[in-house]
């Protein structure tokens, strides 16, 4: 297959991530990947497939089941000039490496007065809807958004997955990178991704759908839910503008503000549990800067304040739905 043909191939979200890793590993001999089952197995979902064969066991390290040591070791490697991509087999297990992330990696630049940069990406599959239960469904980015010194990223499309992962790898700061596992192999979002130095810079939102009646701010899997809700809203002659923030930290407030200046109404949608989730932070910021702009109370659609239960009827009950987003937007528009 020629390069041009490869270029033209439509990629799913997972392949986009895999390509990003292969290309960055190729490009930067100082890049190391670490995690459980990433080498011999190629990763629980296959994101790291093929890396071990290509780059060997010193750059693709099958780590023991030791999330804390994995992050800690990544810090040590970064101190010796390496860049490191760490895989959490499920992002839920990040709780086992929590201290190393929030108290060590996150604060290192600050504590060293800028002398130590830790270019570490901690990535892993996240999110519900797959029937994974409390420990295979989390969207726990708020913990890290609340830990100064970390960047937090969550792509919603294959090209963003690739472009944001590459940008995260090249960023000098630790990044927690949420991959949406429900999107890994989703057919209807496959995309042709430009070849070459394709990067999506951190801190830039994108507008997934333009509209004038209500601004819907979201990210990750919820982007697709919101787009579906927007279609249904359009049937009711309500034009929703759907903003995909793409990076949670740093946040592109400007794009949100500009949109609200136009629509004067806002709904925030996020999959995490409600209290102290990032939806709340968005609402707080919008109410700070947008007091004069809003014609209706801002509304958030989130998971209920519960764990994610296993059986389907319960899981569906607590997670956001297209219906719920539709209704929230209608409420805001009708206010």
């Amino acid at each position: 297959m020629s390069a041009a043909a490869a270029q033209a191939q439509a990629k799913n979200y997972l392949t986009a991530l895999k390509d990003a890793l292969h290309e960055e590993m190729e490009r930067d001999p100082n890049l190391v990947c670490m995690g459980e089952d990433i080498g011999i197995l190629g990763g629980a979902f296959g994101v790291t497939e093929g890396l071990l064969d290509r780059f060997g066991p010193l750059r693709v390290v099958d780590m023991p089941i030791s999330e804390s040591a994995i992050v800690g070791a990544a810090i040590g490697l970064a101190m010796r000039g390496k860049r490191v991509v760490v895989e959490m087999q499920f992002i839920d297990f990040i709780s086992c490496g929590f201290d190393q992330i929030v108290n060590n990696a996150a604060t290192m630049c600050y504590r060293s007065a800028g002398k130590v940069n830790l270019p570490i990406v901690i990535r892993g599959p996240s999110g519900g809807y797959g029937g994974g239960g409390p420990y295979h469904s989390q969207q726990n980015e708020a913990w890290f958004a609340h830990s100064p010194g970390l960047k937090v990223v969550c792509p919603s499309t294959p090209s963003d997955a690739k472009g944001l992962l590459r940008a995260s790898i090249r960023d000098p700061n630790p990044v927690v990178f949420y991959e949406v596992k429900e999107l890994y192999r989703k057919r209807d979002i496959v995309e042709e991704i430009p070849d070459g130095e394709f990067l999506v810079p951190l801190g830039h939102a994108t507008i997934r759908r333009e509209g004038s009646d209500v601004t819907v701010v979201t990210y990750g899997n919820m982007v697709h839910f919101c787009l579906k809700a927007a279609e249904r809203l359009a049937e009711q002659d309500v034009q929703a503008e759907v903003i995909d923030i793409r990076t949670i930290v740093p946040l592109d407030e400007e794009t949100i503000r500009t949109s609200i200046e136009k629509t004067n109404r806002v709904v925030v949608v996020n999959e995490a549990s409600r209290t102290c989730g990032f939806a709340g932070e968005l609402l707080a910021r919008i109410s700070e800067f947008g007091f004069e702009l809003l014609d209706a109370p801002p509304v958030r659609v989130t998971r209920a304040d519960t764990p994610v239960p296993w059986v389907k009827p319960l899981e569906s009950a607590v997670l956001p739905s297209v219906d719920g987003i539709f209704e929230a937007a209608m409420k805001v528009v009708r206010y």
Binding site: M63, S66, Y135, V311, L314
Partner: protein
């Protein structure tokens, strides 16, 4: 000890050093006990075979972590426990939930183990599950029955089990806690913190390591630096026993040795049961597992089926006739090749009833999803 058990000949120092207590509790088993052990091995195997088939047919949600070929560990560790002892099984140990205290009667409603029906209700995700199917598969428990509820986080249950063991000490009770883990989980900080605490206070905590050579797609050499995983015990100056995980009586003997020691206030032990994972890590991994492990390794690993190892012992010890041994032969065969004819009728009956119950039970109601985030007084 038959020649197949030579793997266990080497024991860590702490064992030989500590006490002269018998390592052959098996000698006290009555002939009926042996037949019961065999029945339990059949039941554990049949349960797994059935789930594998159900899963293939797309009838079950979630991941099946097959216990195939590892049944002797569960039956052997659980058979000698008292009803008041506690356990904490992990993902690969589904049969443990009903095997616990099964000696008190398969259908005894008061026994301190779950019924097969309850376990099936959980697997089928039904309201009748002990946890109303709010968390998946092996994350069930029961305070009444002495079964600790686990999370997914490997080894996280060890400190919890140590806490239960501390409560036994505080209450002056000589019950013990058995906690199960794969060899991979021994790399986690919680493994260390929990066992260290238990060793300091000589708590009645026995950690069963099911060393099936693989942690998902990672071989044991990349999880553990010692020759045997049991060697981890040396770091706590506690016994680290090695059992032949394919030999139910060897597992039984070693467990009883550690249990009796723990009851007498002598503290925790680790028992490494050497075994081999017959299939993929989970059913989703069955195909890939054939690639990251080579065929010969799998062949070798599966070559000592715990049912046939035990049958051979029983026949040699004249506890079973060769004819009886050959009546039902699910052993040494792939799950998909085995049929109902390969199991004794009482085993089939027990599971059939349970599955029927599970299948016909209702799902939990959606409204329940918002309950029990916090304790409800009304309960």
């Amino acid at each position: 000890m038959n020649s197949e058990s030579s793997v266990v000949a080497k024991q860590t120092d702490a064992v030989s050093d500590t006490e002269s207590q018998s390592l052959r509790t098996r000698d006290q088993l009555a002939p009926a006990d042996h037949l019961e052990i065999l029945r339990q091995l059949y039941l554990a195997r049949y349960f797994d075979v059935r789930l594998i088939k159900e899963k293939r047919r797309g009838r079950l949600r979630g991941t099946l972590y097959s216990s195939h070929n590892q049944e002797a560990i569960l039956v052997g560790t659980l058979f000698g426990l008292r009803p008041d002892d506690w356990i904490s099984p992990i993902h690969r140990d589904m049969p443990a939930f009903f095997l616990k205290d099964m000696r008190s009667g398969w259908n005894n409603p008061d026994r301190k183990g779950m019924s097969v029906a309850e376990v099936c209700a959980q697997v089928w995700g039904k309201e009748a599950s002990p946890i109303r199917a709010r968390d998946n598969w092996s994350h069930i428990g029961s305070l009444d029955k002495g079964i600790i509820y686990s999370t997914s986080m490997l080894a996280a249950t060890i400190p919890v089990a140590a806490g239960v063991a501390f409560a036994f000490k505080l209450d002056g009770q000589d019950s013990v806690v058995l906690t199960y883990n794969g060899e991979g989980a021994t790399a986690r900080g919680d493994f260390h913190e929990g066992i260290n605490f238990a060793a300091i206070h000589k708590l009645p905590l026995i950690t069963i390591i099911e060393n099936n050579q693989w942690a998902y797609g990672t071989p044991v050499e990349l999880e553990c630096p010692t020759e045997d995983v049991a060697d981890r015990a040396k770091g706590y100056d506690i016994p680290g026993l090695i059992a032949d995980g394919q030999d139910v009586l060897d597992v039984y003997d070693k467990t009883m040795w550690a249990v009796e020691r723990a009851r007498r206030g002598r503290g925790p032990s680790i028992i490494e049961c050497k075994t081999f994972r017959a299939y993929g890590h989970g059913d989703h991994d069955d195909d890939r597992a054939m690639r990251y492990r080579d065929a010969e390794e799998i062949e070798r690993g599966r070559s000592r089926d715990p049912i046939s190892v035990y049958k051979r012992y029983l026949v040699e010890a004249q506890l079973l006739s060769a004819e009886e041994a050959d009546r039902h032969t699910p052993e040494n065969r792939d799950a998909l090749q085995v049929t109902d004819d390969d199991f004794p009728p009482e085993v089939i009956a027990a599971l059939k009833e349970a599955v029927e119950f599970a299948v016909s039970s209702p799902l939990p109601e959606a409204e329940e999803a918002f309950r029990w985030v916090f304790a409800e007084d009304a309960e």
